[in-house]
């Protein structure tokens, strides 16, 4: 019937019930654009309305059923045809029949499990979306609404510092220390580099944050390395006994939490790379993995019922950070 454009058609609109109150988060798309999407956490309910607006009022719209799906899927760029759905929920909104006027359908996906964080990377994408479909004989009408999911963690119980002595025999020995092994996304890396032996002519030293995205399994594993940050921590030649401090604020960089073997499809890991460069541009480096995690913004204010349920899965901070104290010496 829609062959010559005279058939009835419809526009679909998905509107969330809490669209006014729900926070939005920025997420970079495949082409590098940054867009804002509604932010959800694991366990939260996704509820709203599907508005089916007929194009030509007065004309009937025959359909094979109207439904809404909540989908969480992983898409590998080298295998675009195959979407791996790890969450797939369906709600039927209308049985096959006809619409005589524009209509609105309520839906609710209660306490939906969203086990992984939304991620758009170099070779893989993990996304969550709602898809409303009006089934028809020849071609369906559908509309998608993407959402962004963040996974929150609590302060890790064990968060030991990283302290190691490394070097090249008889040439360069250093001891490096980072205050933690697990950092949240707005954390600060505090550390130091102590020089034990310096028999090479060092020109400067920097610390890089490297993101490694691993896709594929078995013999087809592919690593994609991306240097997210380069931060010079020393300019000039150090000698034995010198300590160089490190203070690197993570909030300024585009980072995601560490993702290990997500649905057995991909991983995203982060490494600190300490690089020393000598006067002949030779590079000496030591790479160390760190774990990044996302801290919840949930504060002890009045919470909506939904957020209360969601937060039961992760507590807000039980170890408040110490604020720096200053000692003032009194000269009597």
């Amino acid at each position: 019937m829609s062959f010559f454009g005279f058939g009835q058609s419809a526009d679909i609109d998905i509107v969330l019930n809490d669209a006014d109150t729900r926070k939005k988060a920025e997420h970079k798309s495949e082409d590098g654009r940054k867009d804002k999407y509604f932010l959800f956490y694991d366990g939260e309910t996704v509820a709203g309305k599907v508005n089916v607006n007929l194009k030509y009022p007065g004309k009937r719209l025959e359909h094979n059923g109207i439904k809404i799906e909540f989908v969480g899927q992983i898409e590998l760029y080298y295998d675009r045809g195959n979407h791996h759905e790890f969450v797939s929920l369906v709600k039927d909104l209308a049985r096959p029949g006809e619409l005589t006027q524009s209509q609105s359908f309520d839906f609710e996906f209660t306490h939906v499990e969203k086990p992984y964080e939304s991620y758009t990377g170099q070779n893989v994408k993990l996304r969550y979306f709602l898809r409303a479909t009006v089934g028809r004989r020849l071609n369906d009408i559908s509309k998608e609404l993407d959402i962004v999911v963040h996974t929150l963690s609590t302060y890790p119980e064990l968060n030991s510092s990283i302290k190691m002595e490394v070097g090249i025999e008889d040439c360069l020995h250093i001891e490096f220390e980072y205050n933690k092994s697990k950092y949240h996304l707005k954390d600060v890396i505090v550390g130091k580099i102590y020089f034990l032996l310096v028999r090479i002519k060092i020109k400067h030293m920097e610390i890089d944050i490297i993101k490694r995205e691993t896709t594929g399994t078995g013999p087809n594993v592919y690593h994609e390395n991306d240097t997210i940050a380069k931060y010079e921590i020393m300019d000039g030649a150090p000698v034995r006994g010198e300590s160089i401090p490190i203070r690197l604020f993570l909030a300024g960089y585009e980072l995601t939490p560490t993702m290990r073997d997500v649905n057995k499809k991909f991983s995203v890991r982060y490494y600190l790379n300490l690089v020393l460069i000598d006067e002949e541009e030779r590079r000496y480096f030591k790479q160390q993995e760190i774990t990044l995690w996302r801290k919840g913004d949930i504060v002890r204010k009045s919470m909506s019922h939904q957020a209360a349920i969601a937060s039961q899965r992760f507590e807000s901070s039980s170890h408040p950070e110490k604020s720096p104290t200053q000692e003032i010496e009194e000269n009597s």
């Binding site: 220390e177 954390d187 310096v198 090479i200 000698v239 034995r240 203070r247």
Partner: protein, 160 residues
């Protein structure tokens, strides 16, 4: 009510540096000069030699102050040995200047002062770059080049 928390960014505790370490001579002293070019021989068998003087406090070198005489082909020999035995990317030598060795030139060819100076600078850069490489310092050929009076081309290659 929760107050905004400030991250603890205080420096980690570190040992104070010993003053003799701070102000004493650094442990990475290595200076090599290529100087005093001299032409030896007569006629068509003439060639240029350079003095190669090394001053260092690196323990891997037996002599802390040494001076030897070397010609361009000795530098070529060193480059070949290092390329074969070590995993380093060896820096380039100044050019062979084959054109300059052809007859009927208007100038002195390879004995032209400006050319010798250009080559001297290139050789100095080459030897300083390679001598400072921790992996090259393990090779016997480098030590023989810098610190033994003559190069034994029949030597047994190996690590120090």
């Amino acid at each position: 009510m929760s107050q905004p928390t400030v991250a603890d960014t205080r420096r980690l505790c570190s040992k104070p540096q010993d003053l003799t370490d701070a102000y004493g001579p650094p442990s990475n002293f290595l200076e090599i000069d290529v100087f005093d070019p001299q032409t030896v021989g007569v006629g068509r068998t003439r060639y240029t030699v350079y003095k190669v003087r090394m001053r260092t406090n690196l323990p891997i070198f037996k002599l802390k102050d040494s001076c030897v005489t070397r010609r361009y082909s000795d530098f070529e020999w060193l480059k070949t040995e290092l390329e074969r035995d070590s995993k380093i990317v060896v820096p380039p030598l100044p050019g062979k200047a084959l054109k300059r060795q052809l007859p009927f030139r208007g100038d002195e060819g390879i004995f032209e002062d400006s050319f010798i100076e250009e080559r001297r600078v290139g050789l100095e850069q080459f030897i300083n770059r390679i001598a400072g490489h921790p992996l090259a310092q393990n090779e016997r050929c480098l030590h023989m080049f810098l610190q033994e009076e003559s190069i034994d081309r029949n030597y047994i290659p190996g690590k120090v």
